[in-house]
């Protein structure tokens, strides 16, 4: 029968294809004519938006830069980087499989991690089992210290959500002490791991610091109209508005607040505030908006990094939070490999654990696999998203309060 034949044909083709890719498996690399670096990032799926800004441009910039200088310095020769990459399609299962493929089939020397908390956690055990260094630059997890202990090969550069919330509250306390704001705070969060973690950490911190939480709700991912929420909050007239949001809703909340004329003294939105897209979309209205992230925008290292990033990525700017951290992680990896002088993953891991590194975000020496300094609060000032908190960070600027009123666009 035709249909049965077609099914058999389809089946045979698929099996033939499977055999073909088994036979076609690449031969193991010869004595270091290139360093094979593999990664699986989310080019498609819900994570693609974040990966497209933070991870992919940095990985490509780094490889381009290293190879332009001849490659990684192993001993006294320079060996170019060869990249093997896959698309994890924003799925934990795909990411896990892609990494197994990189480790067992492609036999890469080093692996760069995927984007986001969920995927980094999904591949954590795999990288640990196979002994690869795991430098996670886009994962925010409260269990970072525990993970670092469980997987000593893993390095969690972006910190914990408790850190984010507490730094923010610290800043608010300081500003209240200076008489710039009152006690009333409205808080919204996206109903996703990130938003919930941050609001769960912020809530007790705010209460302990004697702030009044006049509005405290979360909304589902995919909410397309935040007007009811913003309108209600406006009516409560809080001094501080905090929104632990993702890029689509960060933009929507800002837009809606502008339209409704909602001008709290402090306006803080979550992921996406630090994206160049935010500045492009709102222009002068971005002035004074606070958000998660930030960097030392005046430092020469950052300025050079910004220029290089734009040049290598067709004018695209990095985001002002995890981009620089991701790139710093790559620099650390490079320095560790070059110090060890050969492809010895265990030695590289040791070096990452104990060494001091010179990166775009300043000197970095990890303690228990975690950094000692994070940028948690930034603010758009004069067209740049400067880090303002923790205030003790090197290069932290003073906060500008109150936020200037929204202008017509």
């Amino acid at each position: 029968m035709v249909s049965l034949f077609t099914r058999r044909a389809a089946g045979s083709i698929a099996i033939a294809g499977a055999i073909a890719f088994c036979i076609d498996a690449p031969a193991p690399a010869q004595a270091q004519s290139s360093v094979k670096i593999g990664y699986a990032v989310s080019r498609t799926g819900p994570n693609a938006g974040g990966a497209a800004v933070t991870t992919i441009p940095n990985y490509e910039l780094w490889v381009k830069e290293v190879n332009a200088a001849g490659g990684l310095k192993l001993g006294d020769k320079r060996v170019p980087i060869e990249v093997v990459q896959y698309d994890d399609r924003s799925s934990a299962e795909e990411a896990a499989r892609a990494l197994e493929r990189l480790i067992n089939q492609d036999k890469v020397d080093f692996i760069l991690p995927p984007w986001g908390t969920g995927l980094n956690l999904a591949v954590g055990p795999i990288l640990h089992r196979a002994g690869y260094p795991h430098i996670a630059g886009t994962a925010v997890t409260d269990r970072a210290p525990e993970l670092a202990k469980r997987w000593p090969n893993s390095f969690w550069l972006l910190g914990t959500s408790a850190g984010a919330a507490e730094s923010l509250v610290e800043l608010l306390v300081k500003l209240r002490g200076e008489g710039k704001i009152g006690d009333s705070v409205a808080m919204t969060s996206i109903a996703d791991g990130f938003g919930i973690d941050l609001s769960s950490a912020a809530r007790p911190a705010l209460t302990k610091a004697k702030f009044k939480l006049v509005y405290d709700k979360s909304y589902p991912i995919g909410t397309q109209d935040l007007a009811p929420i913003i309108n209600e909050i406006k009516g409560l007239n809080p001094d501080v508005y905090i929104s632990f949001s993702y890029p689509p809703d960060t933009l929507a909340i800002t837009e809606q607040s502008r339209i409704a004329g909602f001008n709290p003294k402090i306006f803080y939105t979550g992921v996406g505030t630090a994206f160049p897209l935010y500045k492009q979309r709102f222009g002068a209205n971005a002035e004074g908006v606070m958000g998660i992230g930030g960097w030392d925008g005046d430092s020469p290292a950052i300025k050079t990094y910004l220029a290089k990033h734009k040049e290598a990525n067709g004018g695209k700017e990095p985001d002002r939070w995890a981009s620089a951290v991701t790139y710093a992680g790559l620099q650390m990896l490079q320095q560790a490999i070059e110090r060890v002088g050969k492809i010895d993953r265990a030695a590289v891991i040791k070096e990452l654990q104990s060494g001091s590194f010179d990166t775009v975000i300043g000197p970095v020496k990890l303690v228990n696999n975690l950094p000692t300094q994070y940028w948690w609060v930034g603010q758009w000032q004069n067209g740049e998203f400067y880090g303002i908190g923790p205030a003790s960070n090197h290069g932290a600027k003073a906060a500008v309060v109150p936020k200037p009123a929204w202008k017509a666009q």
Binding site: T188, Y219, T223, D225, A227, I229, A260, F275
Partner: protein
């Protein structure tokens, strides 16, 4: 309360606008088009490009996007979907087949968008001006979207009820074999309806791009919303589509204001399921068996 209701109406208007094309495609051509949202996003990208690269307002963009998508949808129906139509033994089989085929189409369109635009978020601001209505401040672009939804819906309704072609299309929606008996070219009418649906979703895409952030992968969200509105309103029924859209929008806004914003989408689905359980063919639908 006024605020919640007005916001709800605008949101509902947007849902109805987005869903109108699908009710045509499904109600008449019997194609359960899972790639529907991708066409909306493609139109949004087109509007974005026209706005940022050529400084053309989305309203001007409509003039380009609508005919192009009409043509593309017509071609898709003729080339891709007609073989399915021809071989389906009955309408149920066609529906199921079209689900699977348009699922494949969804991947193809999404893949093309990803290749061209990447996975990044796109957004632009147009007509995001506050205007005061009944003492409440609303966004002008959303109001315009609602107004255009009403205009488009009315125009469509008039076209379907007062013109010959419109009546022919409705005849095909009711009973294709009988329609054939009165010399209506069913294939042609179905293709027309499908193309018209494609034009409508492109218009919706251009309009919502004024105030929503989108990326190559956000198409599925729109497809699901449209499906819910269409099925809840009764397949092929424009009025049902409008009412269902408004109901969903209002419920979302009211729940967000008075209950908990976290339950908005759950209430949406619950409403949808509830309607189906009470009236299995949708609010205004006709029982199919």
């Amino acid at each position: 309360m006024t605020n919640a209701i007005l916001t709800g109406l605008m949101l509902g208007g947007m849902y109805a606008l987005v869903a109108m094309g699908l009710t045509l495609q499904y109600g008449v051509a019997r194609i359960m088009n899972l790639s529907y949202g991708e066409f909306l996003v493609a139109a949004a990208f087109a509007a974005h490009w026209l706005f940022t690269a050529w400084a053309l307002s989305p309203f001007v963009g409509l003039a380009f996007v609508i005919p192009v998508s009409f043509g593309v949808s017509y071609a898709i129906y003729r080339i891709l979907l007609t073989p399915l139509v021809r071989r389906a033994p009955n309408r149920d089989a066609l529906e199921v087949d079209s689900i699977l085929a348009t699922f494949g189409l969804m991947f193809v369109v999404q893949g093309i968008l990803l290749t061209v635009f990447g996975g990044a978020y796109y957004s632009y601001s147009f007509l995001a001006v506050p205007i005061t209505v009944l003492g409440e401040t609303l966004a002008l672009n959303r109001m315009v979207a609602l107004a255009l939804a009403v205009i488009a819906g009315s125009a469509l309704y008039l076209a379907l009820t007062r013109t010959r072609i419109g009546t022919a299309i409705r005849a095909v929606a009711v009973d294709p074999s009988s329609a054939r008996l009165v010399a209506i070219d069913v294939t042609q009418m179905s293709a027309l309806a499908f193309a018209l649906g494609g034009a409508m979703v492109a218009a919706a895409g251009v309009l919502v791009s004024m105030f929503l952030t989108f990326s190559a992968t956000t198409g599925v969200v729109f497809t699901m919303k449209a499906l819910i509105v269409v099925v809840m309103g009764g397949i092929g029924n424009l009025l049902g589509c409008l009412i269902a859209g408004l109901a969903l929008g209002l419920s979302e806004a009211l729940v967000a204001t008075y209950v908990d914003p976290g339950l908005t989408l759950a209430v949406n689905y619950a409403l949808f399921l509830g309607v189906l359980l009470i009236k299995p063919a949708g609010l205004f639908g006709r029982a199919q068996r």
